[in-house]
Symmetry: C2
Subunit: 142 residues, 2 copies
Amino acid sequence: MYESITERLKKNNYRLTDQRMAVLQVMLENKGHHLSAEEVLVEARGKAPNIGIATVYRTLEKLAGISILHKTMFEAGKYRYELSDNHTHQHHHFICLNCGKITEIEEDLLYSLEQHIENQGYQIVNHELKLYGYCPDCQTLK
Amino acid sequence: MYESITERLKKNNYRLTDQRMAVLQVMLENKGHHLSAEEVLVEARGKAPNIGIATVYRTLEKLAGISILHKTMFEAGKYRYELSDNHTHQHHHFICLNCGKITEIEEDLLYSLEQHIENQGYQIVNHELKLYGYCPDCQTLK
DNA sequence: CTATCTGCAAATTCTTTGCAGGACT
DNA sequence: AGTCCTGCAAAGAATTTGCAGATAG
């Protein structure tokens, strides 16, 4: 897994610098979590102390460009990045309006909906579904 | 329709200033379109010449706050606003990767998916689905 | 009259870019 | 060696905020 990622970097002529490895490690250690650039910076400094925010942004952008990461905006005006899971279709996200926790929803279940829309002449190559509500832990607090 | 909107503004103690009326008219004239704050500013200046961008933002924010408008981010780092249609659930959007046109998809079709997730203890109050691909007009250009 | 609203400009926040030096390969 | 990469600081872009004067109710 770790091997295949560095392979993919090499294939795209991306040099394996300490800073890039640090960012990659941070993302691997946070599999399933959605980190902002600033959060990645703080953790990456533990591995590459002098790394700057510009390099973090440049690295995240490159990794997202070759689908190693996935970039989404959950809250206003700020991107978050997560390790991509290589599935054909991107999974969905449930965002709790009370505690803010983001849960991944693995089931796709959009097939029939997309079929319906493609029958109208559209070709769908990707989708992004966000569900907002209250997670099981926050049901009682409402 | 127009009546009921001003009623709702009054109910929320929002003064009916020329600037607010101008923004509201622009949004009503662009029903079904998704405008950026800057685009609203340009059109609103035709009705209230001295209106500033800050007032446009403040007004759009207020109107979205009482669900008269709906605010979504389609492209990176920039919100777009559209007149809300008062349906229970928000409609979906198809974004063409070639021409950038945004098409509304009225069918909901998420019912069974949401049912499935609510069975796992979540309560869903809203959703946002964006489909990316190529619209009928752009099929040949691919 | 008085609380709310407005326009302006400055401030914020997130992200990108130019540049000169540094480091993979 | 040569290209790619980095950190810094400055620039950009979208949005928000402070303030003094203006205006709706």
